[in-house]
């Protein structure tokens, strides 16, 4: 094993063989900026990764009040010292010269610098006017999956109990709402059943629409290490792209986009037909088996083969893999969540595990993944379209309990309808019933579907827009007030990753200029608005991260996401701990549902469920009659054709997605030199057969168009499924002359110029992966390469050489050192 590796060219670093049922050996990754040696570092400050949902624990290196590098935390259960490329290089964006350092307000159509007093006065006086003229329903909040727990909780309290608006959601709607909905549909309540440690024990790992190698690269390192150890797992990959996961898989299925339910129903059909089911488990812990069995009875591999355009024999092989596993781990992400019939498909993965009894045991688990680092907290704190603590808005006892925690009347908390989801909020703003939208830590002018529409909503004069961010994003450029925020490394707080691991992340350096932590901004607003509880005392009684955490603990008490056993002191200096943490589980909880289903009882559940086709809500009465004893619910779903079909005019299926080197809309990763250089601009992927048919080649400038809009990018020819176009969604306009959208000189660059406004009726997650598009040549590449990385799913097809492989050079070299337990394992390379 080498001591130094170019982690742009080799994103996953060196292998440490990892035997089944053994602890994962550590490997400590350290990156220090040029000229800094470890002995020069004055302070290592504890943190965790903010650029994906893995929750990689790390320390920030500080010299003279400046960040100079990062190092993985060896003791942490999540990453055992390893870091991914975004963790290693992304922190440099904090020190960008274009950070916002002062508030901005719009004067005569232009944003001008001002002081906090002026900016906050504008926000508060507009809030007051709207409250008195139009009521709380005229104010909405659109937050993120990238703040800290303490910030979401404060925002949830001030919005739901302070203003009394029902309009608070996160951009987690785009990344994780199907995960939450699928868990609610099956288990009655949100909460990740499995644990990353299941990777150490599984003999089959199935990844459904989950490009783990790029979205959570450190867990992919864990799988790669297992593939080189004793008794390696077999992998099933369902993905239209030739991802690294697909390349390593025993069986890779690349179904037609939008057909996940058909494929999963066929897999369930085969599992039941071969009797590979655990009847005792089904009997003890589930309801609905007969209906599920009846629904999939005709869903043979041959039937699905026609719909999915995958050979029936391969579907049968996949079913064999799943059916013969003795410890099966499944993971699900955007290939399911952002595709047609999102919740219905995600639920079928839960069903597979329930009928096989593969739950709550080491190696047997489901990971319904998140996209963003703190999305789990957006969900549990009630900042994402649910009440805090996974409380049920339809259950008066739950609302009363929340009102008790907040010391307000139950009627203060809107619960006449489900909390408004983000897409509906933008519709209300379009229609003019929402007149103030406060956007924190997200960039809808690049990340929402159908951008021309989103820009027209955000540019309306009658809509007062507040944007709280680090940079003058595309969205901030359209705002009325811009509030400069501090970020990771400049503020303290906790957050929770996709396997319920809570980490503390400490302030390492001062924020630039007058930038303030998001928590301080929310607390300032609450104080200026003078929100009161029912006895006239202040509604918000906390003043800093730790006191906010203590307040959240009281709200989480007795709920599935119980934090009452955690303190900052426990988390500081230690590794992450998985919730629930309470008197019964003082060390945390590795897996949920080890002893039956715990939160599905009608009195306890978070949601009574929805119709997976229409999204219609079930009532308490219906839930109670379906599931009186609180078991897991096997919900069947039939296949429906996607809403937008290909046509002669739009013959391709368009799917958007991410690359390893970037996060979200590149606000940070586009400002980290190594990451930016690895994938500097948008590109377009098609298959080798489509390229041959259309006489297109690597580097050709092409235009992708749909009825909504168009974008241009240079072509990469890959082993992608024929008939599909892939475009990465990260790229916008902040680093073009156009600023916030395409203009006469700057053609479309954002994938979302083309995407359709359509969402899953149950989870309300927008469908970024099911649209029809046309592809045309703009100009020949003449030797110019596509900016697509060669190391990932965008690697060129074997028959299509590209001029140069993606490398990072000298400034991307990262040191790798053995962990303490390293020497005993031997045999590394």
């Amino acid at each position: 094993m080498e001591s130094s590796v170019d982690r742009i060219g080799d994103p996953w670093g060196s292998r440490v063989p990892h035997g089944r049922h053994e602890p994962w050996p550590a490997r400590v990754d350290t990156y220090l900026t040029d000229g800094v040696r470890p002995d020069m570092v004055q302070e290592w400050v504890q943190a965790a990764s903010i650029l994906h949902s893995d929750g990689d624990a790390m320390d920030i290196a500080v010299i003279d009040g400046r960040m100079v590098g990062v190092r993985g935390r060896e003791i942490d259960r999540v990453n055992r010292g390893r870091l991914g490329p975004k963790d290693l290089f992304g922190w440099q964006a904090n020190a960008s010269s274009d950070r916002l350092t002062r508030p901005l307000v719009r004067e005569d159509g232009r944003l001008v610098e001002t002081d906090w007093e002026t900016a906050m006065h504008r926000v508060v006086s507009r809030s007051r006017e709207l409250l008195s003229e139009r009521g709380p329903g005229s104010i909405g909040f659109y937050t993120t999956g990238q703040l800290f727990l303490e910030e979401y909780y404060t925002l949830a309290v001030l919005a739901r109990a302070g203003l009394g608006t029902n309009h608070l959601d996160g951009n987690t709607r785009l990344c994780t709402s199907t995960a939450a909905e699928a868990l609610k549909e099956t288990f009655g309540c949100d909460g990740q059943p499995g644990s990353y440690d299941d990777i150490d024990h599984a003999d089959v790992i199935a990844l459904f629409g989950h490009n783990l190698a790029e979205t959570q690269p450190v867990q992919w390192m864990r799988i790669l290490d297992r593939l080189e150890g004793t008794d390696p797992p077999r992998l099933l990959c369902v993905d239209p792209r030739p991802t690294q996961v697909a390349r390593a898989a025993t069986v890779h299925l690349a179904p037609r986009v939008g057909t996940n339910v058909a494929l999963l129903n066929a897999l369930l059909h085969e599992t039941i037909r071969h009797g590979r089911i655990d009847r005792a488990y089904i009997q003890a812990h589930t309801v609905g088996f007969e209906e599920l069995a009846a629904r999939v009875e005709d869903c043979t591999p041959e039937w699905a083969a026609d719909i999915c355009d995958v050979p029936a024999a391969r579907i049968a092989e996949a079913a064999d893999l799943l059916g013969t596993a003795d410890r099966l781990l499944s993971t699900v992400l955007q290939g399911v969540y952002q595709s047609h019939q999102a919740t219905a498909a995600a639920v079928q993965v839960n069903n597979l595990h329930l009928i096989r009894g593969m739950l709550g045991k080491p190696g047997a688990g489901v990971l319904q993944m998140n996209g963003q680092p703190t999305a789990q907290n957006t969900r549990e704190c009630g900042a994402n379209g649910d009440l805090p603590g996974f409380r049920n808005w339809q259950n008066d006892a739950h609302v009363a309990d929340l009102a008790r925690v907040w010391n307000v009347e139950a009627a203060t908390i809107p619960h006449y309808a489900p909390p408004t989801h983000a897409m509906q909020m933008f519709r209300y703003a379009e229609q003019g019933s929402i007149r103030m939208l406060w956007i924190s830590g997200t960039n809808p002018a690049v990340s929402l579907p159908e951008l021309a529409r989103i820009r027209s909503v955000l540019s309306q004069k009658r809509l007062f827009t507040v944007v709280q961010d680090l940079f003058l994003t595309e969205t901030a450029q359209l705002a009325d007030v811009v509030l400069p925020a501090a970020t990771w490394g400049e503020k303290t707080g906790t957050f929770t990753n996709a396997d319920r691991t809570v980490h503390l992340t400490d302030k390492a350096v001062e924020p630039p200029g007058e930038a303030r932590p998001d928590l301080d901004i929310f607390l300032d607003y609450a104080a200026r608005m003078d929100f009161r509880d029912k006895d006239g005392g202040p509604l918000i009684t906390w003043h800093d991260p730790e006191s906010a955490f203590e307040a959240w603990k009281r709200c989480s008490a007795g709920r599935p996401c119980d934090y009452t056993g955690l303190t900052y002191a426990m988390l500081r200096g230690a590794g992450g701990i998985q919730w629930p943490v309470n008197e019964q589980a003082p060390e945390g909880t590795e897996r949920l549902y080890t002893d039956g289903i715990s939160w599905a009882h009608p009195d306890a559940c978070q949601d009574y469920g929805k119709d997976l086709v229409t999204g219609a809500a079930d009532s308490a009465v219906e839930y109670r009659s379906l599931n009186p004893d609180g078991k897991a619910m096997l919900k069947a779903a039939g296949f429906l054709p996607p809403h937008e079909a290909t046509s002669r005019e739009y013959p391709f299926q368009l799917t958007t997605g991410r690359t390893l080197y970037h996060f979200h809309t590149r606000t940070k990763t586009g400002r980290a030199p190594q990451l930016n250089a690895a994938a500097p601009d948008v590109w377009v992927e098609i298959s080798a057969s489509d390229a041959a048919r259309l006489d297109l080649a690597e580097g050709d400038l092409v235009k992708v168009s749909t009825p909504r809009g168009a974008l241009q990018g240079r072509l990469r020819v890959t082993d992608l499924r024929p008939g599909v176009i892939f475009v990465p969604f990260h790229y916008g306009y902040w680093d073009t002359p156009a600023g916030f959208g395409p203009d006469a000189a700057t053609p479309g660059r954002a994938a979302n110029e083309t995407t359709i406004t359509d969402w899953d009726p149950a989870s309300k997650q927008p469908l970024f992966k099911t649209a029809a598009a046309a592809l045309t040549l703009v100009e020949r590449g003449d030797g110019k390469p596509s900016p697509a990385p060669t190391t990932t799913a965008s690697a060129p097809a074997a028959t299509h050489d590209v001029p140069a492989a993606t490398t990072g050079g000298r400034t991307a070299h990262v040191s790798q050192t053995p962990g303490t337990a390293w020497g005993r394992e031997g045999n590394h390379r």
Binding site: G137, M423, Y428, E430, G432, V613, T614, H643, D758, W759
Partner: protein
């Protein structure tokens, strides 16, 4: 036998009517994207009901005809789409939307009651063919009703408090 013919004819008419209501809801409210897509999805259930009712009717010497053409081209549909786009930034269509959802809900309720009558008649006359038909179609009618009810419940507070 005459009674069964009447029941089939009424239901067939009701399901065809519901298809029309759902398709005009879908076209008129294109800027309400969820309404637009889901209305089309659940109209497919009524199309299937119409076809199955027509197939069943043949056994009773009754000719009812299949579902209407599913293309939404026509001049009226185009006008509805255009009107929907033009009105996208105005609040008044909120009221119109609630009214249209109410009409769809009532049309589905109408059908639901007729499925109930058909099922009862089938039981009384030991007609298993009709009983199977009713018990396989009626649940989808109930889902159409639950959907419109949910949308009305979720959308009406914002529509009415913002007027």
């Amino acid at each position: 036998m005459n009674g069964i013919k009447i029941a089939l004819r009424i239901l067939h008419h009701g399901e065809r009517n519901l298809i029309g209501e759902l398709m005009s809801l879908s076209e008129r409210h294109r800027t309400e994207h969820e309404i637009h897509h889901v209305a089309t999805d659940v109209a497919a259930w009524s199309r299937e009901h119409v076809q199955r009712l027509a197939d069943a009717a043949a056994h009773y010497d009754l000719d009812l005809g299949g579902p209407p053409d599913d293309s939404s081209d026509g001049l009226l549909a185009t006008l509805r789409k255009k009107a929907s786009d033009v009105m996208g930034h105005r609040p008044e269509p909120g009221l119109l939307l609630l009214r249209d959802l109410r009409e769809v809900h009532l049309a589905a309720t109408h059908n639901s009651l007729h499925w109930e009558m058909l099922a009862q008649t089938a039981q009384a006359s030991k007609d298993t063919r009709l009983l199977t038909l009713a018990s396989s179609c009626h649940p989808q009618t109930l889902r159409q009703m639950r959907w419109t009810n949910t949308m009305i419940k979720n959308l009406s507070p914002q529509v009415f408090t913002s007027l």
